[in-house]
């Protein structure tokens, strides 16, 4: 949304993207990101915050955008895909209610950043990516950074990951306005499926699909910001 503010201000001058800073500075930037953007906006789950303090986000963004890795916005990673805004990653991860033994399925590996966060918290992480080049890049990156136990598969996320099902948690973007039926089926009773609803500019809402112990399904739609939609309440 920085963009909109800039657009509004006319031809605002934006500082060019800086070169990758030194290691210690990067770590400080990441801690500041978690403090200000994630914890500061209400994410409380300690496992989520811990994971976000550890995973080197700058290693998941394209080299020329590395200097902006910890800024408060989504970044493009090629093929029209983005790495989500840090706050959205944290908020979404918290909503999954993961434990150390959870099995998680992610549809849309992208850069692999979200998968690495999940791997810091959950027991088993499965991730499906349809665009072959992205899947290859993410797989290599995850292995190099020590997240080799994330299972990455190239293919259509529509079918989920039948052999590894059922899952305690699933993340899927439902860009076409529906959730593929196999994913709901592969969700364990008591499990959560999170849908970041949005556009290329990032997630605007989060929909949580909850499967109760008896298998019944309900949803909750959450707005990432506090906003009272009526101007004068009676």
């Amino acid at each position: 949304m920085r963009g909109a503010a800039l657009v509004m201000a006319g031809f605002g001058l934006v500082a060019g993207v800086a070169r990758a800073p030194a290691q210690g500075a990067v770590d400080r930037e990441r801690q500041a990101m978690v403090d200000e953007q994630v914890a500061g906006r209400g994410v409380r789950d300690t496992a989520t915050l811990r994971a976000m303090r550890i995973v080197p986000r700058h290693d998941f963004v394209p080299a020329d955008l590395r200097g902006a890795a910890y800024s408060d916005r989504p970044l493009p990673i090629g093929f029209g895909q983005t790495i989500s805004q840090p706050f959205i990653v944290g908020y979404m991860t918290e909503l999954l209610s993961l434990g150390p033994r959870s099995r998680v399925l992610e549809i849309g590996t992208g850069s692999g950043y979200q998968a690495a966060i999940l791997a810091e918290i959950a027991g088993e992480v499965y991730s499906v990516e349809i665009i072959s080049q992205l899947a290859g890049g993410a797989e290599e990156r995850l292995r190099r950074l020590g997240y080799g136990r994330v299972h990455v598969r190239r293919g259509d996320g529509f079918d989920g990951w039948k052999d590894a099902a059922p899952f305690d948690a699933i993340i899927v973007t439902a860009a076409a306005g529906f959730v593929p039926p196999p994913l709901v089926e592969q969700l364990k009773p008591g499990g959560h499926l999170v849908i970041p609803v949005g556009s290329v500019y990032g997630a605007q809402n989060l929909v949580v699909v909850e499967k109760a112990a008896d298998g019944s399904v309900t949803t909750r739609t959450l707005l990432p910001v506090r906003f009272v939609p009526f101007v004068r309440e009676h």
Binding site: P181, S199, V217, T221
Partner: protein, 754 residues
């Protein structure tokens, strides 16, 4: 020289329209709008430069004209090629500083041809001041013909393949495994492409409770954005099952679906739903014949719904069809017109939509057979707005038809993704209500309203922070005062759209912008509407640049003799007012012609060509008319006539064929357009004859005012409606008349032409 001016003007306008289309295909249309508006400043800037160089050019206007015209020809070739090669991705403006530099570079590059072309036209007028009416007429008529030329060229594939932004759906789906392009077509209505890949699935709003498979589908794109999915395997039962789990299937719990009207049938999903529920006769109205052609080409003949003898295809505008037909239907279906993600980003917030206005819904209701149902589905967002506006619009249409028990005649259902409203003027029987309730609970839909009863103890499947749709339904049932109270208090603009103000997808309220900015730049994403942001940004930038560039020549001129009898402020006011007024009026007509003609491309071409050509004729006559304040005053008076005339013309012509509608539309604007051709040349004659350089100054002010006008017209139309745009145009001409009158008889109005 008039011939040369005519030719340059033809090319300039055709170039502008083609650029706009090309950028819309590559990027999103609001970016195209912003880029081209900035480039258009080039035209105004040429006037400024000529003011500064007036002394150097004096006496050599002819040579300067020849050189500038030659430069124009070269730039026309070189600049688009250069701009095409520049790596520019407007979506990246949101995160990259480099993109801002690239935007500036692209806009400046594209501004050069506008700069040179306009400079040539002004030089021609400076060379032959006595010929101003003739040259101005050539300029206007040329521009009008340019619009027609552009329309003709738009039927051809472009010489360069557009580099579609990776953030559009087309390149993303084409990156899927085994994706192949099954066909593509170019027309003025859009670039249509069919892509086949096993990984493409299309079931908008499919219930979370659906457990079976989806049939193979082909993706159909218009201008690189997803327009829908064409479904294979119509005949097989297993492939048809999912159709009963889509939101629109609710309608078939209430209606006897013998005769169904599908508005905007596209790749045919709503037709399939109707056939799967036993429809005997489906009338499918679709505006773009290429969408139908590619759908049919992509499907095997057994899957081709448009071949089914139960289906009758009507290619054309739905408003014209419903104005023309006497047929009655058991069900009228309005499906969502844009893809889920595009809707979420508010990309089309400022696009006119005459299919969802209160007047449109009233007409659909009139075409219902006894017991018939109108069904409308829209995507939902949080905080709720689309569903809220849909419910209020349905209620307003019923009320406008004299319904006194609106609440009894509405059913509102909602999932996490989509909301559906069923409207039935005869009400719902207890039997149908129980069928609808069981449909809702089996599909995990929340009942926001059920034919006169609030949702009550119905199960809640989809929790939102505040179920505003429920409040909207209740307000609608209570009456228009409750609706007005809700609309006034709600943070989003949920006023039911009308034919005056046809913006269903527009939700931003001006007063709300402050609250959004206060939320902090990083967190108002859920509320952003990029179309609106682009218009505001264009207005601010245009105003800023225009102000700077107008003050410079004014200062230069003021310090230079000989001083004419007419003060500079008067010249500025006069030409600024008619520049602004001209474009406001043209924009108002583009909007209403869209209601009449059904597509923006037809409306823009007819209005631009009509206005410019008839104004050219007016300019030719101006030499024989009195100068001074009268021409501008005449325009202001004629607008009052048009306010009455246009709605009548639209209503009477709507049922006719497209050609007849174009002719009547253009005839309706002709008298006004002729009158609007007079004030510029007569003003030039009266106000600037005794002052060297004032003509270029007048031209610059006029040009800059036109640049701002497009944004101003959009803002007025969205907030108050097209009549106010037209009235604002009238006010501009009134101001021009007053300023010319103040220059008065003692002014320059009786100074003979040099």
């Amino acid at each position: 020289m008039a011939v040369a001016v005519f030719a340059i003007s033809v090319v300039l306008l055709a170039f502008e329209i083609l650029l706009l289309r090309f950028f819309s295909v590559q990027y999103f249309s609001h970016f195209a709008y912003a880029v081209i508006s900035i480039a258009m400043l080039g035209g105004g800037a040429s006037g400024t430069l000529l003011v500064l160089l007036r002394e150097r050019v004096r006496g050599r206007e002819r040579q300067a004209f020849a050189w500038t015209a030659a430069a124009f020809a070269c730039l026309l070739l070189a600049c688009p090629i250069a701009a095409y090669r520049l790596p520019f991705e407007p979506t990246a403006l949101a995160w990259s500083g480099k993109a801002w530099g690239a935007l500036l570079l692209v806009a400046l590059t594209l501004a050069l041809p506008f700069f040179a072309g306009t400079a040539a036209v002004i030089l021609a007028m400076l060379a032959r001041p006595a010929n101003t009416p003739m040259l101005y007429a050539a300029n206007l008529a040329g521009s009008g013909s340019g619009a027609l030329l552009a329309l003709a060229l738009l039927g051809l594939p472009p010489p360069w393949v557009p580099r579609v932004s990776p953030f559009k759906a087309l390149p993303q789906v084409e990156a899927y495994p085994e994706a192949r392009r099954l066909g593509e077509r170019w027309s003025p209505l859009g670039w249509v492409i069919a892509v086949g890949t096993p990984a493409f699935h299309y079931a908008p709003g499919l219930s979370l409770a659906y457990e079976a498979n989806l049939p193979p589908q082909v993706a159909i794109f218009v201008d690189g954005e997803l327009a829908g999915g064409a479904t294979q395997g119509r005949g097989e039962r297993a492939n048809a099952e999912f159709l009963d789990w889509l939101p629109a299937a609710a309608a078939y719990r209430a209606a006897q679906p013998h005769r169904v009207l599908v508005i905007g049938s596209g790749p045919g999903l709503e037709i399939l739903i109707a056939l799967a529920h036993g429809a005997r006769h489906v009338v499918a109205v679709e505006l773009n014949p290429d969408v139908i052609a590619l759908t049919r080409q992509a499907l095997d003949s057994a899957s081709d719904v448009y071949r089914d003898r139960r289906v009758e295809l009507v290619v054309g505008d739905a408003r014209s069809f419903v104005a023309r037909t006497r047929e009655r239907f058991d069900l009228v279906v309005l499906a969502p017109t844009e893809a889920f993600g595009t809707a979420a980003a508010g990309l089309h917030a400022l696009a006119e939509d005459y299919l969802t206005t209160v007047q449109a819904l009233r007409i659909y209701l009139r075409h219902l057979a006894p017991g018939g149902v109108l069904a409308m589905t829209r995507w939902v967002r949080t905080p709720p707005r689309d569903d809220v506006k849909m419910i209020l619009t349905a209620g307003a249409a019923l009320r406008a038809a004299g319904d006194t028990a609106v609440g009894e005649h509405l059913v509102c259902l909602r999932s996490w993704a989509a909301a559906t409203v069923l409207v039935r003027p005869q009400g719902f029987s207890p039997d149908e209500i129980s069928r609808l309730r069981s449909f809702a609970s089996s599909r995990l839909l929340d009942v926001d309203w059920m034919a006169g009863r609030p949702s009550g103890d119905a199960p809640v499947f989809n929790r939102v922070e505040r179920p505003v749709a429920r409040e909207a339904a209740l307000a609608t049932a209570r009456g228009s005062d409750s609706v007005a109270a809700l609309v006034a208090r709600y943070a989003f603009d949920v006023r039911p759209p009308t034919d005056d103000r046809p913006y269903f997808a527009h939700f931003i309220r001006l007063g709300m912008l402050r609250r959004l900015v206060a939320l902090g730049a990083a967190s108002w994403l859920p509320f952003a509407e990029w179309g609106y942001v682009a218009v505001l940004a264009t207005l601010l930038q245009g105003a800023l640049v225009a102000a700077i560039l107008m003050i410079v020549p004014a200062a230069v001129l003021a310090g230079r003799g000989p001083h004419g009898r007419t003060p500079l402020q008067v010249i500025g006011t006069y030409f600024g007012a008619i520049g602004l007024g001209y474009l406001l009026i043209e924009m108002a007509f583009i909007q209403q012609l869209q209601l009449l003609l059904g597509h923006p491309v037809y409306a823009v071409t007819a209005a631009v060509a009509g206005f410019l050509i008839f104004s050219g004729a007016g300019s030719l006559c101006s030499a024989r008319l009195t100068a001074g304040w009268k021409p501008a005053a005449a325009v202001a008076a004629l607008i009052v006539v048009e306010l009455v005339l246009v709605p009548v013309a639209v209503r009477e012509a709507q049922p006719l064929g497209l050609t007849a509608r174009v002719v009547i539309g253009v005839l309706a604007l002709a008298p006004l357009a002729v009158a609007m051709g007079v004030p510029f040349p007569s003003g030039v004659r009266a106000l600037t004859a005794d002052r060297p350089g004032a003509l270029a100054w007048a031209w610059a002010v006029n040009g800059f005012a036109s640049v701002i006008a497009a944004s101003v017209a959009t803002l007025i139309a969205v907030e108050w409606g097209w009549r106010w745009v037209l009235l604002a145009g009238a006010a501009c001409y009134a101001v021009a008349a007053l300023s010319a009158r103040r220059a008065g008889p003692g002014g320059a109005s009786d100074v003979p032409v040099q």
